[in-house]
Amino acid sequence: MLVLDRVSKFYGNQRAVDSLSFSVNKGDIVGFLGPNGAGKSTTMRMIMGFLRPNRGSVKVNGLDVQANLKRTRQQIGYLPEGNPLYHDLYVREFLRFAASVTGVPNPRKRIEETIHLVGLQREAHKKIGQLSKGFKQRVGLAHALIHNPNLLILDEPHSGLDPNQLMEVRARLREIAIDKAIILSTHLMQEVQALCDRVVIINNGKLVVDKTLVELEREHGKNLEATFAHYTSSKTSVKL
């Protein structure tokens, strides 16, 4: 469904992403991990076609993203870092807008379905600015899901949520994941363990791990924080 082939991105002399390759298939929930500044958001932005790679290619369902921006974006749901939203719009207005620009057939029905899917029924009549952070996160998710994409790119969907809200978002993602591929960037290892089948770790823009969670736990034990530190600590030399 998604293939990154030796993708690199430079900012001046700095290599934000360095020859990164991995793929994601339908049904996968991939935890995309790395320390701050490792290149996770840059990679996600290249998948969305928002940034153009200096080298390599990103393909979604066999289509090169840069050559087919409109078609590939129609197949991807994107929750950017920080969950930016239009706070002065009502929830339904915002979802109507998102449905319209992505060409959703029968938008009224789909909006109600999506509101139900993310559990926003009681808040759907409110302005987005009036909602709590947890509900705003659901609006962001609803926006990413409105056109029923088969690939979801979620950049830190857990950021700033309290434990109850974390559990809610986790439950929603589990429901959604059945027929989709999901790439999830997060710093919360318990969320990775609860949700993901596979883990991709990058450090300084380079791939350092691409393994199933079961493989990682077998090799390094259940403590994913320690495993993450093992692969990304600057004092540790890492061999692929």
């Binding site: 409109k70 078609r71 129609q74 930016p84 002065d88 207005e93 992505t102």
Partner: protein, 248 residues
């Protein structure tokens, strides 16, 4: 494009600044039409809407700058521009959608004055005396073209900065210079005779006044269309490069 237009329109009227800027326009032009004795139609012997058409362009700059300041600057500051540019939309669809919303706000504002000022001033006329509707239509067309031009400039400045206030000031200053700056510059003694005419012709005011006389000159219309196309094209180019842009 229509979806962007609707969103922009809803957002403009979802904030107090939308209503406030239109109300301010009505209030300020109303002061000139009815209250200030040097301009008020109540104090004049000749019945005309000239005070309105003289001052409306200046106040229109206010409305347009308020309507366009948030269109890209707010989206940049809030991060929502990333949402927008990662949708299956082209940069021109984004810019035209936003532009259409700004122009609709201008049209609404002008329409409000047309349905209030024109009949009320006509009501003051003696029986059998009529306002010059030809020149009023021309002046409204000129005002609308001015509003369209100011909107294109405002939209362009809005994407250059992240602060709405800076966008407002930048758009207001450029539009003010484009409207009246060239005419004032042409008054320099050194330009008298030949250059003054050319310099004045570079500004919007000369073309607006020409259209306001009720004379539809292709050159005047072309002048406004050229400015609109230039600034919208610049805006589209900047939106295409936005992820790499270092905004002020």
């Amino acid at each position: 494009m229509i979806a962007i237009f609707k969103k922009e329109f809803l957002q403009f009227f979802g904030q107090i600044v939308g209503y406030a800027s239109i109300a301010l326009f009505i209030l300020l032009t109303g002061l000139y039409v009815w209250v200030f004795p040097s301009y008020s139609v109540l104090e004049q012997t000749i019945l005309s809407l000239e005070p309105f058409f003289t001052w409306a362009p200046i106040f229109l700059i206010l409305v347009v700058s308020a309507a366009t300041m948030r269109q890209f600057a707010e989206e940049s500051a809030e991060g929502t521009l990333e949402l927008l540019v990662t949708k299956p939309l082209s940069s021109s669809q984004i810019v035209f959608g936003k532009y259409l919303a700004a122009v609709s706000i201008v049209a609404m504002t002008l329409l409000l004055t047309a349905i209030t000022y024109v009949p009320s001033v006509q009501a003051l006329a003696l029986e059998g005396v009529s306002l010059d509707y030809g020149s009023i239509t021309g002046a409204y067309l000129g005002l609308f073209l001015l509003g369209m031009t100011f909107s294109a400039v405002g939209l362009f400045t809005s994407i250059l900065v992240r602060s709405q206030m800076v966008s407002f000031l930048l758009s207001g200053t450029i539009n003010l210079i484009a409207y009246i700056g060239f005419e004032l510059l042409a008054e320099k003694k050194q330009f008298a005779g030949y250059w003054d005419y050319i310099i004045e012709g570079l500004g919007c005011k000369a073309h607006y006044e020409s259209i306001s006389l009720g004379l539809l000159d292709v050159g005047d219309i072309f002048y406004f269309i050229a400015l609109i196309i230039t600034f919208l094209s610049l805006a589209i180019m900047v939106v295409q490069r936005w992820p790499y842009l270092k905004q002020l």
